[in-house]
């Protein structure tokens, strides 16, 4: 972007001793690209780094869920009712039945392995959150850049649509949509239908957030000299939009996408909690919380495990997103 001009050659005369030192200093500054600056800043931000590592671990857990469960747990939909007290139907043993065999204990009533269900629940949560974020980013970038660059009635139209969507009661809409839609759709069945619906709907209601930011950035960028230059050199609209403007929008888009994922995780958990998420017996964190409600007084651990998992996941993404924003901010110190 607009780096201040370095006035090197004129001043580099005085003594031979100073020159190499100054030259080395200058070389160092020149050698750092934006990415490197960001990376250096991020490295120094221990909190953000911890968030990033947690996110990475969670992604790995989700990807390798079957492997992890086969080593450390039991199939997520298997009932182990022999681990329950026949009188109260609560897990036997302390802390909701936590043991070497069942790391996070078992569910009351059903006796399914809580650890396995949390690991498998990560798949649904992260899958829905990431895919929905991708949908939102694609739509938001496309419409935001178009609105910002073209202005006029195009901008007015897209901005009003964004306003409408932002004021839409999305949770209620999704719940009613899910109860109306059939169980097999577009050749999909069961869990995949619900995941597809969740992704599309959460993504669809999420794009205006990205759209507004992209539009605002585009508005300020389109008057810049390099855009003018590209125009006068005969660059087409497509070239200007995607080759000139888009690369300069990558930083804010990355930051907001990262910050959107925890929101999506929470939305998915809320929908599952309300019974509008993936269908049982597929494990989801929100669904586990709902199941835990019935017995929270006598088996609080069943609520603690999924609750803490959601909390850690959302916190990790937020910390990482915040760190990323600070690191990518050109006005930020160092």
């Amino acid at each position: 972007m607009t780096a201040p001009l370095h006035d090197t050659p004129a001043d580099a005369k005085p003594t031979e001793d100073v020159a190499p030192a100054a030259g080395a200093g200058v070389k160092k500054v020149e050698g750092r690209s934006l990415k490197q600056i960001a990376w250096n800043r991020l490295k120094r931000d221990k909190v953000a780094l911890a968030g990033g590592i947690t996110v990475l671990v969670l992604v790995l857990v989700a990807v390798f869920a079957p492997l992890i469960v086969s080593v450390l747990g039991h199939p997520p939909n298997d009932f182990h009712q022999d681990k329950l007290d026949p009188l109260t139907n609560l897990p036997t043993g302390s802390l909701g039945g936590v043991s070497g065999d069942f790391l996070f204990g078992v569910e009351p009533n059903k006796g399914r392995d809580v650890f396995s269900r949390i690991v498998y629940g990560a798949r649904i949560s992260l899958l829905v959150a990431f895919l929905a974020a991708i949908v939102a980013v694609v739509l938001g970038t496309l419409f935001g850049i178009i609105a910002g660059y073209f202005g006029g009635w195009v901008d007015a139209l897209i901005s009003r649509v964004m306003d409408v969507l932002l004021s839409f009661p999305q949770l209620l809409f999704i719940i009613s949509l899910i109860s109306v839609l059939p169980d097999d759709l577009m050749g999909l069945e069961g869990t995949s239908v619900r995941v597809a619906i969740l992704v599309l709907v959460i993504g669809f209601f999420g794009w205006p957030y990205i759209g507004r930011i992209v539009r605002g950035q585009t508005l300020s960028l389109r008057e810049r000299e390099y855009v003018e230059a590209a125009k006068s050199l005969g660059g087409g609209r497509r070239h200007i939009l995607f080759k000139e403007l888009l690369p300069n929008l990558v930083a804010p888009i990355t930051v907001y996408a990262t910050l959107m994922i925890p929101t999506n995780i929470l939305t998915e958990a809320a929908l599952s909690f309300l019974g509008a998420g993936v269908k049982p017996p597929t494990a989801s964190w929100g669904g586990m919380l709902r199941d835990a409600l019935e017995t929270y007084e006598h088996d609080p651990m069943f609520m603690v495990f999924p609750g803490v998992t959601i909390f850690i996941t959302v916190l990790a993404f937020n910390l990482f997103g915040d760190g990323l924003r600070d690191a990518l901010d050109p006005k930020g110190t160092r």
């Binding site: 009932f79 026949p86 009351p108 269908k279 017996p281 019935e294 007084e297």
Partner: protein, 590 residues
């Protein structure tokens, strides 16, 4: 799963604990080791009276999540409403106020004696007692009884109640109800005659051995024509019983006070101990349980059992205040014959063998809170129920027989299994969980079940509609069913008789079309000897089971709280799963 042996050991341990519990139950005493509190003892109100007392006075405080479906005797259909209505309605005959099986005996209430039945079994004659009155002191006559029953014909205003009396006396629907009656006294129904103020005669076009049972329902209660406010009668019913309405705020509060015109000597069955009955309706079940346990209320009006968190506390800390009651509900899965491959009996049998009944029992709350594993389609309280067990369910203690299930699948031509869609109601506690358990169990024999959740309020138009069921491809439906009155007709006919297969509100969910079963029902209903009828219902049960038409899996039980102030508390088999409300008293003057 490799870890077999420790699990087996644990199962054995669990079985031992259950066995220990059963033994305690069988002994019947309250065990002080297991619970503090000053209650009358665990299961003290089963088959006997807990805290027998004749002391009158005080306020009986009830709480419920759900209000009465109607306070109008002709419009109520919930068992809890029928139980509660004995406070302010009387019938010609009613159930005896005795614990256990003795409570199903019909005894004269308004009438001097039970019916004098003509030889052909088609004419029922009753004489009213002397001294029976309304709450304003006016005498209660046979014409009031006839008028009350006639209201059942006004089906556009008096909605919701049972139709048995109407269908029996007027199967062709010729009478149009008292509100459209052109005769001067509005008593135009020909099947009921009132030769004088004390006599009432019912003339049945066809014999029905359960007719007195119909009259014992609140639908057979008298209503004074001058006090009939039609659809609004529910907000202030006119009392003929020992209590009358002081106030009624639907969905919030019911307060009954003594009806001082009611005379004890005219009513041999109602003890009428408390001075006041105060009912609070409050939607938070957990909170209701807590307040029952802290003594703010005495008894749960709905009688649906405590919530899981409530019953854990109750059973662990206050066992002497707890009764583990049978509700006479049967939990079942209907196997729908029109859905492939359930048209084939072997595929249906594969489900019977593949189901882990003990697992379903545990999922619904275990032996105490869920109930006993079922073998018969009829609940224990219905004559005709037997220990016939063609699939060896009881013999294996509810465990599945995977080998036999796979064999049946082979005979069905589906050795690799098949797919099925199972419905479960998400507003019925534990039903979706149970469906998930069944899903996991049947997967082991290769039957891939997908669970479809429904709102129970929509059941009449979804699971109760064969065309919707077909369109949505449902093949199994999980639900529960209890008798309107404790005979095979009142329980099994809507479930299995092909003539009850209707397009909306259908309960013959398996869609059984079996002429032999229909004929057996006709035969049983025409019997005036209940023992002979029971033999026929036994045969119906056997045939349904042999054909694997309909799979019962639990005889439901509840954990019910018995408040410490309650006296005269017992469960009668006529009001399964609840105390006989009209007998309850309280032991202090609060």
């Amino acid at each position: 799963m490799p870890r077999v042996s420790p699990k087996r050991r644990l199962t054995a341990g669990a079985a031992l604990v259950v066995a220990a519990l059963v033994t305690t139950t069988a002994c019947g005493g309250g065990d002080d080791d297991n619970g503090g509190g000053k209650g009358a003892g665990y299961n003290a109100a089963l088959n006997k009276v807990a805290n027998p007392s004749k002391k009158a006075g005080g306020t009986l405080r009830m709480v419920g999540k759900q209000d009465l479906d109607s306070a109008d005797p002709q419009r109520a259909y919930y068992g809890m409403s029928w139980d509660f209505m004995r406070f302010y309605t009387r019938q010609l005959v009613s159930y005896d106020t005795k614990p256990g099986k003795a409570g199903t005996k019909l005894v004269p209430d308004l009438a001097e004696s039970t019916a004098k039945i003509s030889k052909d079994g088609k004419t029922y004659t009753y004489k009213l007692r002397d001294g029976v009155t309304w709450e304003d002191g006016s005498p209660l006559t046979s014409k009031d009884v006839k008028y009350g029953i006639e209201r059942l014909w006004a089906t556009d205003t008096i909605t919701g109640g049972p139709g048995y009396i109407r269908q029996t006396l007027d199967p062709k629907g010729e009478y149009k109800g008292p509100y459209k009656d052109t005769s001067k006294d509005k008593l135009g129904l020909k099947a009921i005659e009132t030769p004088d103020d004390k006599t009432i005669v019912f003339k049945l076009p066809k014999r029905n051995g359960d007719f007195e049972q119909f009259l014992a329902m609140p639908a057979g209660s008298p209503v004074k024509a001058a006090k009939d406010t039609k659809a609004k009668y529910t907000s202030r019913p006119f009392s003929s019983g020992p209590y009358k309405f002081q106030s009624y705020k639907p969905g919030k509060k019911i307060v009954l006070v003594r009806n001082d015109k009611w005379k004890k000597d005219s009513d041999p069955i109602r003890p009428a101990l408390p001075d006041k009955v105060d009912v609070t309706i409050s939607a938070n079940l957990e909170e209701n349980d807590k307040r029952l346990m802290s003594g703010d209320y005495d008894v749960d009006l709905n009688g649906t059992g405590m919530t899981q968190s409530g019953r854990v506390t109750a059973v662990q800390k206050h066992k002497a205040n707890v009764d583990n009651m049978h509700t006479s509900f049967v939990r079942y899965v209907a196997l729908i014959h029109t859905a492939k491959p359930f048209d084939n009996v072997h595929c249906r049998k594969a489900v019977f063998y593949g189901t882990d009944f003990a697992g379903l029992q545990q999922t619904r709350g275990g032996k105490l809170a869920a109930g006993d594993i079922a073998n018969s389609t009829l609940p224990k309280a219905v004559p005709g129920s037997s220990d016939y067990d063609p699939y060896g369910v009881l013999e294996r203690k509810g465990k599945p027989d995977i080998a036999k299930a796979k064999d049946e699948l082979k005979q069905c031509g589906k050795p690799g299994g098949f797919s099925a869609k199972l419905t479960a109601r998400n507003n019925n506690p534990g039903e979706v969980d149970t469906a998930e358990a069944l899903q996991a169990q049947l997967k082991k024999v290769g039957i891939n079940v997908s669970v479809e959740q429904l709102d129970g309020a929509d059941s009449a138009s979804i699971t109760g509609s064969p065309s919707v069921v077909k369109k949505r491809g449902y093949s199994m439906q999980m639900s529960g069913w209890g008798p309107d009155f404790p005979t095979g007709q009142g329980y099994a006919q809507p479930l299995f008789d092909s003539r009850f297969l209707v397009e909306n509100g259908n309960y013959n969910e398996s869609q059984i079309k079996d002429k032999k079963i229909d004929a057996m029902f006709d035969d049983a209903i025409a019997q005036t000897d209940l023992n002979k009828a029971a033999e026929i219902y036994k045969k119906i049960d056997k045939r349904i089971l042999d054909q694997a038409d309909w799979m019962p899996f639990l005889y439901e039980k509840n954990i019910t709280w018995r408040g410490e102030r309650l006296t005269n508390a017992y469960m009668s088999d006529a009001y399964n799963g609840r105390y006989d409300y009209v007998s309850l008293g309280v032991n202090d003057k609060k």
